[in-house]
Symmetry: C2
Subunit: 395 residues, 2 copies
């Protein structure tokens, strides 16, 4: 018998469980090799350095770190981040910045200030699942544009935008999640031009760009546009810890003011204690010192996964070789559904994400997202060899 006592808002129909969060639930299953999550390598967490930062917080900030603070975020940390971002050619002042509970919260606040039911967002096809789920909660529609190894197909975007109105353009241009690809500079410049022409902002989600283990640095869309018309999101999740839930948004002051209002209503402010702890962590130079460690670790793990894929996957399977980030995007032969592969591979204790979940309007049934950062060296090889066998059994 269905409980009919509770009467929900229509948007609830659009809220569905994240398959990735569901897989996280089984990830503690003994023996499971999971290529599913977007979990950073636990070896990459700078526990000792973070502990020192936490001690400094207690010693130097004391009760201030336990009290309420401003919604925008504590000034010392925003100041530090502004100086730090200038090394990435991002010129920004504290009033252009809001600290959030992870960049997921920034997505949610953006949805809240921009999206009315039925509004459309232009997204890459595939796109980040967390963003799609978040915008679903605002009853958004999607205009999907394919990507290739140079990122978003601007020509296709232009075509679609002739007949579709969107509220903003959402992209993960560097080490795309799930596709691993990076948008090149000419396309970034063309995207800025296109967005300006149709008069909509670009939302640039950039959690991974500092984790580059191959190829040359590419400036952010935000820096190329000098911050005009671009909203930039980043996070400490991949550089320090995802468990501390700390991210930030950069945008024009007008947008930040609106986001601050939305954040007041959402949770008043970001965790004061964690803000001070991360500030001390940064002040000690740990953030900059730690990044090369992560890069070395991830380069190593990506190399192992790619080598194993070469060795164990049948030649009919294709993939994008990432230059950074955490994922290898894999394309099965046309007609072979990743969901069928998953059913069999989970019996072999190997998990991954069925790529179709990243396609906002459906499709991509023959794609898989493989994460290489959260498995041991031996599990990377063992998991891929098992997965290779499972795939071969379907061919």
């Amino acid at each position: 018998m269905k409980n009919e006592f509770y009467h929900y808002a229509p948007r609830v129909k659009r809220m569905t469980a994240s398959i990735i969060r569901e897989i996280l639930k089984i990830s503690s299953r003994p023996g499971l090799i999971s290529f599913a999550g977007g979990l950073p390598s636990p070896d990459s967490f700078p526990l000792k350095e973070f502990e020192r930062a936490v001690r400094d917080t207690v010693r130097l900030d004391g009760i201030r770190a336990l009290q309420y603070t401003l919604t925008d975020g504590i000034l010392p940390l925003r100041n530090y981040l502004c100086r730090w971002l200038s090394k990435q050619e991002i010129v920004v002042e504290p009033p252009n910045m809001l600290l959030t509970h992870g960049s997921q919260q920034a997505l949610d606040l953006l949805g809240k200030i921009f999206l009315a039911p039925g509004d459309s967002v232009l997204v890459e096809n595939p796109s980040y699942l967390g963003a799609i789920q978040c915008f679903n909660g605002y009853e958004a529609k999607y205009v999907t544009v394919p990507i290739d190894d140079r990122g978003l197909r601007i020509d296709k975007a232009e075509e679609k935008l002739k007949s579709h109105k969107v509220k903003f353009i959402y992209v993960v241009p560097t080490f795309h999640n799930p596709a691993g690809t990076t948008m090149d500079v000419p396309r970034r410049l063309n995207l800025i031009k296109l967005a300006k022409k149709i008069d909509v902002p670009i939302v640039e989600d950039d959690p991974y760009s500092l984790i580059r283990f191959k190829g040359n640095w590419v400036p952010s869309i935000y820096s190329l546009a000098k911050g005009k018309g671009v909203i930039y999101l980043s996070t400490f999740s991949k550089l320090l810890s995802p468990g501390i839930r700390l991210g930030y948004v950069l945008a024009e002051k007008e947008i930040i003011a609106k986001l601050v209002l939305a954040k007041q209503a959402a949770d008043l402010q970001t965790n004061t204690f964690i803000q001070y702890a991360v500030y001390h962590y940064c002040q000690h130079g740990y953030l900059e010192k730690h990044i090369p460690t992560i890069i070395r670790d991830y380069a190593h793990k990506a190399g192992l996964m790619l080598a194993a894929m070469e060795e164990f996957f049948p030649k009919e399977v294709k993939w994008f070789e990432p230059q950074g980030g955490m994922f290898v995007w894999t394309i099965l032969p046309e007609g072979l559904k990743a969901s069928r592969v998953f059913q069999k591979s989970i019996e072999q204790n190997v998990a991954f994400v069925d790529g179709s979940v990243f396609f906002a309007n459906g499709g991509g049934e023959n794609t898989m997202r493989l994460n290489f950062t959260n498995s041991s060296d031996s599990d990377l090889r063992l998991g891929i060899s098992r997965l290779g066998k499972v795939i071969k059994s379907f061919l």
Copy 2:
């Protein structure tokens, strides 16, 4: 020239700055005596005990405390809270609980799952500003019902509900914010009956009930209803620290499942590190040990403020004597606007909150909310004496 580049969702028109958060910005002004915030006394923060809990987290949980975790919250802390709540006659299991970034986030998630634009909420008049702001973001309307010294006027609620449909009933029944009053048991039982009759849930916001310094304990609406049809919110903000942003919701499993989906989209999960730290804090028995300290401190400060009000306020001013919580609700003579008093008192370096902001549909211009927890003993007396002079100057 107005920037017309950004096109916001209609709900943005309803988002306004919290006057209380605005006042927080000036609260560091030298010499300011602020009765405005809802800031706990900084003397009440158990810094040393929290430091020990943080050290335990690093030592015992290590990298687990920095990694992603389940959206619902870590099980050890939910288990602890269930045992702890049973001492308050609240019978609840972990699947009935979701940990949130403060109870403000719980309000936001409830707004998200229940409120479509134009839906109504029954609120006390006055009501908690953070809730009103939060529901405003979902384009809610309000059915307001007056309160007296025994809490919500159930008779008036019944009357209003004959002609108005609401999605839920939102109350702060114990040590009300801003009014300081507590709903008695007969009214709690009648409210449960009424809500059942009209088939809507009650949202019980309970941040203060453990900070009782006078009178007898009153069971929560949640416990009286045995959890049926009631959603209960509470927080560590007033018992440990507001800066750590940790709260929780209790509800029927069906509701928790919906809230979990909304939370995944909002910020994935609550801070892992803080959850473990608070778990160790609780395990050491610090939570229970610390509450009497807060009560003693607040009883003392409330006493000082009330005595100063007796001494310095003209007899035309009335107030509710609170038995717990953080506020004295004060009523100026009819026709004297608190906003005019504020203008003059801020010149004297004394801040408070104009009570009209707590009236969801307007009104209450002659009311003020005075907080006694965040001022020194001498400032309490000095501030009230100045405020008394300012009020007298209008009579």
